[in-house]
């Protein structure tokens, strides 16, 4: 029982020496899942940052000494620009699921022909 290999064998049977496709599949599935989670977290962070910035406009304007009536045109323009930017972002790089679903809907009738 003094052989190192026998000790190793008793501690845990070694996996097959050849490639194990099941193991590889599980690893790649985990990689994909982690990538998905990372991109979701990044997107959530972006959204929080955008809303934070929008919320910050009001106290900044107030701190600058502008009252509501004088700041109103600036705020309206800022709001319109923000809404336009958000819409553009959502349209171009936005929710992948929505975009891919729309594309799938568009493609489906073509495939049936």
């Amino acid at each position: 029982m003094n052989d190192d290999l026998e000790l190793a064998d008793l501690l845990g049977e070694a996996p097959p020496r050849g490639p194990d496709p099941g193991f590889r599949f599980d690893v790649l599935a985990r990689v994909a899942e982690r990538n998905r989670r990372r991109s979701m977290a990044a997107r959530a962070l972006r959204q929080v940052a955008v809303f934070f910035a929008i919320g910050l406009v009001f106290p900044v304007v107030q701190a600058a000494g502008l009252d509501w009536s004088s700041a109103q045109p600036v705020l309206i323009v800022a709001g319109a620009l923000t809404a336009a930017a958000a819409t553009a972002l959502l349209t171009i790089g936005g929710p992948g699921l929505v975009v891919s679903r729309s594309r799938a809907l568009l493609r489906a009738p073509l495939l049936r022909v």
Binding site: M1, L7, L11, P16, P19, D26, V27
Partner: protein, 180 residues
């Protein structure tokens, strides 16, 4: 897999080629899984950790500088995962898993099953670094120098861990150092 082919696959994987990374997983999974199986004792948990380690390797492949082998790099990641998992899991639970696993191996001769149980218990009682050094070096998958790189320990410390750990495992099996 030769070094040139491995370097080519690493380059492709760094650029997001999942197929190339799959080949690297195929090449290194036996060593990483064997190391974790010896370390953890529970095959399912060991493979779970191994998969996490490979998935993490994909994320940090940029940090691999080629100064050591990729196998050593992945085992280093796996070791960190094991240390983290160990902190969050009580020793009692680990031992229960080992018992449950032994209960599953009914086809095994009783003497061998008892030896495995005694060995597992002795292994669980070893300090973490000593345990990992043994798990790497006992199966002769890794040299002492490679184990030192994986564990980020001096070479002399690893050699000492292996010698002392082996003696404790042999003692658990009733084998004296003189007899070995």
């Amino acid at each position: 897999m030769d070094a040139g082919e491995e370097a080519r696959l690493i380059g492709l994987a760094r650029n997001g080629d999942m197929r190339a990374f799959g080949h690297l997983v195929d090449a290194h999974q036996p060593a990483v899984r064997a190391f974790l199986r010896r370390l953890v004792g529970n095959y399912a948990d060991a493979d779970d950790l191994a998969q996490d380690a490979f998935a993490r390797t994909w994320e940090v492949l940029e940090r691999y500088d080629g100064s050591s082998s990729l196998r050593t790099f992945i085992c280093g990641v796996a070791f960190q995962y094991w240390r983290r998992a160990r902190r969050s899991q009580s020793r009692r639970q680990a031992r229960e898993d080992a018992y449950a696993e032994l209960a599953d191996t009914e086809s095994e001769p009783p003497a061998r099953a008892a030896a495995r149980l005694a060995l597992r218990k002795a292994m669980d009682d070893l300090p973490g670094d000593q345990r990992a050094a043994l798990a790497l070096c006992l199966g002769q998958d890794f040299t002492h120098a490679e184990a030192a790189e994986v564990l980020k320990l001096p070479l002399g410390t690893v050699k000492s861990h292996v010698t002392r750990g082996r003696a404790r495992l042999q003692a658990a099996l009733g084998v004296t150092e003189k007899a070995s």
